[in-house]
Symmetry: C2
Subunit: 349 residues, 2 copies
């Protein structure tokens, strides 16, 4: 009865990034322990020299996950992993999480236990402690909010904003597979709707299904880079797709880039499924998202060291000055502007 109904701007007009930027701009920091607030994969807090990384993610049924094809244990596992990945993206490893879950009375205790068993499995694998949380009923649907903490030293933190002109752009693993997995699940869901007795045909697609349903956080890459004495100059994890994340690095570092289409790492299953779904395989990698691979830049002098890790890491381009813009160099050697949707003039086969 006290609501002010005068002016109304739709949230969809801003989009997620616009909204966060809008809501958190000009926030002054009152504590000298606050080193970095909103605007990277994690915030950075100082504790007598040692640095604390903290990040939080919200997962909502019907927005971020579909329970008709997401097993609850996988959901819990993935909810934890997504957060671990944010700490990896700062070049650190996670050590603690808090978990808040709200569920409607549609869910039983056994359902919530399944989610927790997934979270606990992820914690065990990544040696992370579950230290707190909150549970509540919701009116409808399921909400999971996880906050993750990691510790590191000042000189090891890698931000998004510190890439240099001519740095090499690197990515771990392969891209687009999680999106291919999602497409397979969506297809089977449609088949299931038409004929509920039909068993889902998931054969030969194990790899991409696992990539979507049970992704991993690349803390192993963080450790590998440390072993090889490679300190990335900037880093981000790939949750929204290669194109969107690379544009973040460019924007935050005030640089441009040249990304080579033929260097983007793809798994053969992803390539086959791109054919099956009549989609461009590069679009899958650029815009698919949810790969949770690490995208980072290194100094050119580290090229040989990175090449020794070519089983795990691909060099896919280099940073350039800001005026040159962010570009994709296609297989036919054309240079086209990179956009968060893939590239200008998105094509389908």
């Amino acid at each position: 009865m006290f609501e002010n109904r005068e002016k109304r701007t739709e949230l969809s007009d801003l989009g997620e990034f616009g909204l966060i930027e809008h809501l958190t701009k000009d926030i002054p920091h009152l504590n000298k322990s606050t080193i970095k607030g909103v605007g990277d994969d994690a915030a950075v807090i100082d504790s007598d020299g040692k640095k604390i990384l903290i990040s939080t993610d919200l997962l909502i049924e019907g927005v971020h996950f579909d329970l008709s094809y997401t097993p609850l244990k996988h959901l819990g596992y993935k909810a934890a992993i997504v957060n671990f990945s944010d700490i990896a993206a700062m070049n650190a490893t996670p050590s603690q999480i808090t978990v808040s879950i709200a569920v409607s009375n549609r869910f039983s205790l056994e359902a919530v236990e399944e989610i927790y068993s997934g979270i606990r499995l992820a914690c065990k694998k990544y040696k992370v402690d579950l230290i707190g949380g909150d549970t509540s009923t919701s009116i409808t649907g399921m909400f999971i909010s996880i906050t993750v903490i990691g510790f590191t030293h000042d000189d090891e933190i890698v931000y998004r904003s510190t890439a240099n002109d001519k740095d090499l752009i690197c990515v771990s693993g392969d891209l687009g597979a999680a999106y291919a997995g999602l497409l397979v699940l969506e297809r089977e869901k449609e088949v299931f709707k038409v004929n509920p007795d039909m068993q889902p045909d998931l054969s030969d697609n194990d790899y991409v299904l696992k990539r979507f349903l049970k992704p991993e956080a690349r803390t192993d890459i963080v450790e590998l880079l440390k072993e090889k004495n490679i300190l990335p100059t900037s880093m981000i994890d790939i949750s929204d797709g290669l194109a969107s994340e690379l544009l973040h690095l460019c924007k935050e570092s005030k640089l441009g880039c040249n990304l080579y289409e033929d260097k983007i790492p793809l798994d053969p299953t992803t390539v086959r499924l791109a054919e099956e779904f009549e989609m461009d395989q590069t679009i899958m990698a650029l815009s698919g998202g949810e790969d949770y691979e690490l995208l980072f830049t290194v100094h050119q002098l580290d090229f040989e060291k990175v090449r020794e890790l070519q089983q795990e890491i691909s060099v896919i381009g280099f940073m350039s000055d800001q005026e040159a813009g962010a570009n994709l160099i296609t297989r036919s050697q054309a240079s086209v502007p990179l956009t968060a949707q893939g590239w200008d003039g998105m094509r389908r086969k």
Copy 2:
């Protein structure tokens, strides 16, 4: 389509505390930096000697708040305060928060801005930095998840489990007023439903309305106790009502208690409204909740020091051994077992 529908235990059979305990029991800690996990107002993490406190709270529309009488700015303020209070309950002050908000398309940008303006106001007042978060759409309703961080030293942290037999039980401020405020708002909502043109009659009830809609976290009490060199032996904040919180201290410290009904601090407005609503004023204090006052125990030797703070702090009883049980000593000097609902044989006038 992969859901396991074999066994089903209703969540309501466990209740909130039972659920958290059930889901988090036997969780091993793998990091030596994890000092205290689930089970107190905040978790405790070690960072080279300095201690980090972390706590998280989830607020859900229709469960924790009713937007028909909660102004959005107050909602944001309270969501932050509730978290600050958890850090105060560990005898520390908060320094950073992360905020995750999900809203349906029923809400405009201006609505979300209002919530943030409340959060920012609370941050400014308590010198806390907003360092991160997440925003998302929801299918229905509004969800706010806040995580708070505070720093302190090992020897200043006060847990729930460390009260001693014969320690004095103290409480800050007065109790039951937030619940009285809620009753007033619920009454006016009913009037409004019957006649939407009628203006709410909130006169003379400013104090209790403020206590419900815009509570404060008693970080001032934490500072006052430090100034007076009083280190509480145990502490908790009152979110669920005096009875429930005192039972937590008893259970965690493996003790009993004697709580004196006539010592429970009440504001005259609360007493008047208890009469108006034909409720027992003691029930309001014991079970009302959302007061966000601090309930703590001190050593008997600190009695004189606490008495000097009687404007702010009331001594309401003492801890006893566990076999004696948790008891309320009524105005008529009867000793009755204390329960989370108030006391056995809850009466109404």
